[in-house]
């Protein structure tokens, strides 16, 4: 705790926001209603954009401001908007997608966070407490999103998990290395945008072929069913 208060104010703010991103990840795991899930995801995008802007000010890297803007428009606005619009046209907004054992999953999530801290402990380059915490937190966001991805049954919530995973990666890049080179970041943003659009196309294909968006029904192709 002492360490935390010794940091400059701006780094304290970054760490606090980082913790809030982890909190949104945990909330995403626990939340079962589709519309609330998308809303939480949008909040995660907002936090991420603010962190990026703060890091940009802290380190004096102007190109990070562009990434912050990109994150805000893509992760906090465009993708949630697209998801809500599609969920509405598919009549999914009010539906819920409850995990089978929410308590157990949250316990696992806690264990995963501890595990992530353990992984980054030996890295000597990460002597600064801010970066060490941030790498651990971003790895935890990645792991939690993967956990969400495997515990969800609906295509829409799986996409939210997928995009949250992307958030975790971006978070890692921003906090540990002040972002990637601009050309790489633009490329990644382009990929994410195309992915979001293709996911949108897929919702309709899945519904047209199996009559719902329950991924559980996609079990035709496996070695055992043959």
């Amino acid at each position: 705790m002492q360490q935390y208060f010794d940091l400059p104010l701006i780094e304290q703010a970054i760490l606090t926001l980082a913790a809030m991103i982890l909190a949104t990840s945990l909330a995403l795991l626990a939340q079962s209603r589709v519309v609330a899930t998308i809303r939480l995801f949008a909040w995660q995008g907002v936090f991420l954009a603010v962190i990026t802007a703060l890091v940009a000010i802290d380190t004096g890297e102007p190109h990070l401001l562009i990434s912050a803007l990109l994150t805000l428009s893509l992760k906090a606005a465009f993708i949630p908007w697209l998801l809500v619009r599609q969920a509405r046209s598919l009549n999914l907004l009010k539906e819920s997608d409850a995990a089978i054992r929410p308590g157990l999953i949250l316990l696992m999530a806690g264990a995963l966070v501890v595990f992530c801290y353990n992984i980054v402990q030996p890295i000597e380059v990460l002597a600064a407490s801010v970066t060490r915490n941030a790498v651990a937190l971003s790895l935890a966001v990645v792991m939690l999103s993967m956990l969400m991805l495997i515990t969800r049954r609906k295509a829409v919530t799986q996409v939210v998990a997928f995009m949250a995973l992307e958030n975790g990666l971006f978070f890692a890049a921003v906090t540990t290395t002040q972002g990637m080179p601009l050309v790489v970041e633009l490329g990644i943003a382009f990929d994410v945008m195309v992915a979001a659009v293709i996911f949108g196309v897929f919702f309709f294909h899945i519904r047209d072929s199996i009559g719902s968006l329950d991924i559980e029904q996609l079990v035709r192709l496996s070695e055992h069913s043959e």
Partner: protein, 492 residues
């Protein structure tokens, strides 16, 4: 440099042009033309690099290792586009695909080739990731082209699994960047392969080893390494066959290329740190490779779908190559490079034959594919000879590369030769128990030949045969230059 730009520009522009061409006929001929143009440009590039050494160094970098993969990619892309014309014309005439979707198909085909060539020629590890993710995006709508429930499921699995897998690789790339940022002052160059390679000994070994694990798992998903292979048989079996041919022949190679590049970096960092840590990267790859090799060989025995059968065979061969690159040393590396070439030529040829075979029989279920050699001898022989080649029969090129790999294994890890040999035998049996009745069995009544393009099969298999009998000196020197880059010393 002009040749490189033209190589990239051809499919890049092709993806846009073909999205706008309404006619299927014109589109498929244009598709071939653009691929031919790209092939000519890539050959120009290859001879340029061969004559005057590595090219580029800032945003693009082409050396002996990737230029041969670029030429191979353009070549397989070209021959597959020839096959794709007749194959897809049949699919359109039977009503499985609408002409509008053919525009999507042609555009995605070129888009896929573009991402492959970009991934191979870029000097930036970040762009490498972006283009491999782009390859998934370009092909995912191809997997679901037929819009059957199975194909949608396969595409969804492909999208999610590959997306999550490759996300690990991005995390690894961030870690590499973190390690590099402490060593390389100019942040814009810190992900450049050439710069990283010069400074590899100074990179922090702790960060690099964690990064390597993430990158291996991430790109390993795309290579199809067990246990991350689930998407591969599904995507191969449900999509149109020309796409299976380029996925097996090209995408898996490019993903493996990415792993090998990262391995070279990590080895540099760990080797400099001493204490024999440098071995660990190779051992990880050997472990993953060997498991994939054996598991896929066993899975061959319980397949019903002909395209799933050959996609498991792809996993098996990718496992073998990963093992060989992990083993390291000039002999194994030379063998692995040769195997990359002959596998992608043979496998794409097989998929051409498989595509026509399933059109003849009207199904992909192997029990119902019978008597190919009676109905259409060219397709039957193509499938038979292709499978002989891929199973490692002499005198085909696959035999030579597998022989080199076994010799290398005998030298440096003799006890591993046993699982390798038994794995080869298991895979051999797995392929032939199904092949025999499909090719020679009694022909079902009313089975007729389809319009086919068997020339690509013949050309590919002849090249593989040629490589098995004698590797031309130019090519041998070429492989040797690449071996020197990867293993430090050449073989010749």
């Amino acid at each position: 440099m002009t040749a490189l730009l033209l190589t990239l520009l051809a499919p890049g522009a092709g993806a846009i042009i073909l999205a706008l061409v309404p006619s299927v006929r014109v589109g498929s001929f244009l598709n071939i033309g653009i691929c031919l143009f790209g092939l000519a440009a890539s050959l120009g590039l290859a001879f340029g690099v061969l004559g005057s050494g590595p090219l580029g160094g800032t945003e693009f970098y082409v050396d002996a290792f990737n230029v041969y993969l670029i030429a191979l990619t353009a070549f397989v892309g070209f021959t597959t586009s020839i096959f794709s014309r007749t194959y897809m014309a049949h699919e359109v005439s039977t009503g499985r695909v609408t002409p509008r979707r053919m525009r999507l198909y042609h555009s995605s085909f070129q888009g896929f080739l573009f991402t492959m060539l970009l991934a191979l020629s870029t000097n930036n590890l970040g762009i490498l990731w972006v283009s491999l993710e782009g390859a998934t995006l370009a092909t995912v709508l191809l997997v679901s082209l037929y819009r059957t429930p199975e194909s949608i499921e396969a595409a969804w699995k492909y999208f999610i699994l590959c997306g999550v897998g490759i996300a690990q690789a991005l995390f690894g790339t961030v870690l590499v960047y973190l390690a590099a940022a402490h060593v390389i002052p100019d942040a814009d160059q810190a992900l450049h392969w050439t710069v990283l390679q010069q400074h590899s000994a100074e990179l922090d070994p702790g960060v690099m080893s964690i990064a390597f694990v993430f990158l291996l798992v991430g790109y390993g998903t795309k290579v199809g390494l067990v246990p991350l292979h689930n998407w591969l048989p599904d995507a191969h079996s449900e999509g149109p066959t020309p796409m299976s041919a380029v996925l097996s022949g090209l995408l898996l190679n490019v993903a493996l290329y990415a792993i090998v590049r990262v391995k070279m970096l990590t080895e540099g960092a760990l080797g400099a740190a001493g204490s024999g840590l440098g071995e660990i990267t190779g051992q990880l790859m050997m472990g993953f490779g060997l498991i994939s090799f054996i598991v896929a060989g066993l899975f061959l025995h319980r397949q019903r779908d002909i395209k799933r059968l050959y996609s498991y065979s792809s996993i098996e061969h990718m496992g073998l190559m990963t093992f060989a690159f992990g083993l390291g040393g000039p002999l194994a590396t030379f063998g692995a490079l040769l195997h990359m070439t002959v596998h992608s030529l043979t496998k794409s040829a097989i998929f051409v034959a498989v595509g026509h075979a399933s059109q003849i029989a009207g199904t992909q279920v192997m029990e119902h594919i019978r008597g190919l050699i009676r109905t259409q001898p060219a397709v039957g022989w193509g499938l038979l000879v292709g499978t002989l080649a891929i199973a490692g029969f002499p005198p085909f090129g696959v035999f030579i590369s597998e022989f080199l790999l076994l010799t290398a294994t005998m030298k440096s890890a003799p006890w591993l030769a046993l699982p390798l040999l038994s794995g080869l035998a298991v895979a051999f049996a797995g392929l032939f128990r199904y092949l025999q009745p499909m090719v020679f069995g009694a022909q079902p009544a009313g089975q007729t030949a389809v319009k086919s393009s068997i020339v690509p099969v013949a050309v590919h298999l002849l090249i593989v045969l040629w490589l098995g009998l004698s590797i031309p000196l130019v090519l041998a020197n070429w492989f040797d230059q690449a071996t020197q880059l990867i293993a430090g010393v050449g073989l010749l």
